[in-house]
C-alpha cells in the first residue's frame, strides 16, 4: 500500500499536460457507457470477467470489479453530478505484469489534490458516510491515479499480477 500511496500522491499534480502512456497500448476492450447507475452492475460483471481472464486468483477479480464500480460510481455522482445524459468510457488493458483499467470522463477538471483522503481510523471513530470509495479503490489496487488529459479525466487503476 505505501508504494501505491506514493505513486498516487506523486501524480496528484494539477493540469498535467495532455499525455498518453509511453507506448499508447490499444485497450483490450473498451466500453462506452451512459451515465446511469443502472449500468454499474454490468461494468462490475464485465470487469470481473476481464480480471478472471487476466489470470488473477480467486477473490481478486471480485475486488478489482468493486474498485472499478467505485470509480464509475464517482464519475456519475461527482464528475457528472448525477446527470444521466452523459457517457463515460471504461478501458481494459491486460499486459504481461499488470492489469489496468481506465475510467475516463468528460466532466469538468478535477484537481486530484482536492480529493479528500480518508483516514480510516478517524473514519471509524468519526463514523462519516463518504470517502469510502476512493479508499476502497486504493486498498484493492496497487496504484490509483487521477490525471487530466486531452480534456478528459482519467482514473487509472492498476493491479499487478504476482
Amino acid at each position: 500500500m505505501s508504494a501505491a500511496r506514493g505513486q498516487t500522491g506523486g501524480r496528484r499534480e494539477r493540469a498535467a499536460p495532455p499525455r498518453r502512456p509511453a507506448a499508447a497500448a490499444r485497450p483490450d476492450l473498451a466500453l462506452v457507457v451512459p451515465s446511469e447507475t443502472h449500468f454499474l452492475v454490468l461494468i462490475k460483471e464485465l470487469t470481473k470477467r476481464m480480471a478472471e481472464a487476466a489470470g488473477f486468483a480467486a477473490g481478486v477479480p471480485d475486488r478489482v470489479a468493486l474498485a472499478v464500480d467505485e470509480a464509475a460510481t464517482n464519475v456519475i455522482e461527482h464528475a457528472y453530478h448525477g446527470a444521466t445524459d452523459r457517457t463515460f468510457e471504461v478501458r481494459y488493458e491486460n499486459r504481461d505484469g499488470t492489469f489496468q483499467v481506465e475510467v475516463v470522463d468528460t466532466g469538468a477538471m478535477v484537481d486530484p489534490r482536492a480529493m479528500p483522503r480518508v483516514d480510516l481510523d478517524r473514519y471509524v471513530t468519526e463514523r462519516r458516510t463518504g470517502g469510502l470509495g476512493v479508499h476502497l479503490m486504493e486498498k484493492i489496487m496497487d496504484s490509483v491515479t487521477f490525471q487530466r488529459s486531452a480534456r478528459r479525466n482519467v482514473c487509472r487503476l492498476v493491479k499487478r499480477k504476482d
Binding site: 447507475t37 452492475v41 468493486l66 460510481t73 456519475i76 455522482e77 462519516r128 458516510t129
Partner: protein, 121 residues
C-alpha cells in the same frame, strides 16, 4: 439481473432485513429506505441477514454508517449475519468487521441481542 429486493421480518423486538441481490449506487436507496422504516417505527435492534446479498459497494456500507449512530444512540445495534465470501472480504478490506458485529448465522445474531451483548465500542 435481479437488482435488490429487501424483505423484513420481526422476531420479538428484533427486526430482520433480508437484502436479496446487490447493493451499489443504483440500489442503495431501497436499502436505506428499509433501514429508515425500522428506525421510524422505533425498531433499533436490526439484523441484516446477508445470505441473499451477492455484492455490496461502498454506497451500501455508507448507508449503514449513516444509520449506526442513531441506532446505537437509541440503545440498539445493527448486526450482520451470513455474509458470503465476497461481501465478508469487502468488510474486512475496510476494517468494518471492527465496527460491526458479524455472525455466521441469523440465529446467532438474534441470540446475541437476547443475551444482551452490546455494540463494539
Amino acid at each position: 439481473m435481479s437488482e435488490l429486493n429487501v424483505e423484513t421480518r420481526e422476531v420479538g423486538e428484533i427486526t430482520l432485513l433480508y437484502p436479496r441481490g446487490f447493493i451499489n449506487a443504483h440500489t442503495v436507496r431501497h436499502f436505506e429506505d428499509e433501514i429508515r422504516k425500522a428506525l421510524n417505527t422505533k425498531h433499533f435492534k436490526l439484523v441484516v441477514n446477508c445470505e441473499g446479498l451477492t455484492y455490496i459497494a461502498s454506497a451500501g456500507l455508507g448507508a449503514m454508517m449513516g444509520a449506526i449512530e442513531e441506532i446505537r444512540g437509541n440503545g440498539g445495534d445493527l448486526r450482520l449475519a451470513a455474509l458470503n465470501e465476497t461481501v465478508r472480504n469487502i468488510f474486512e478490506i475496510l476494517g468494518f468487521h471492527h465496527l460491526y458485529r458479524i455472525f455466521p448465522s441469523e440465529v446467532e445474531a438474534i441470540r446475541s441481542f437476547r443475551d444482551g451483548e452490546g455494540a463494539p465500542s
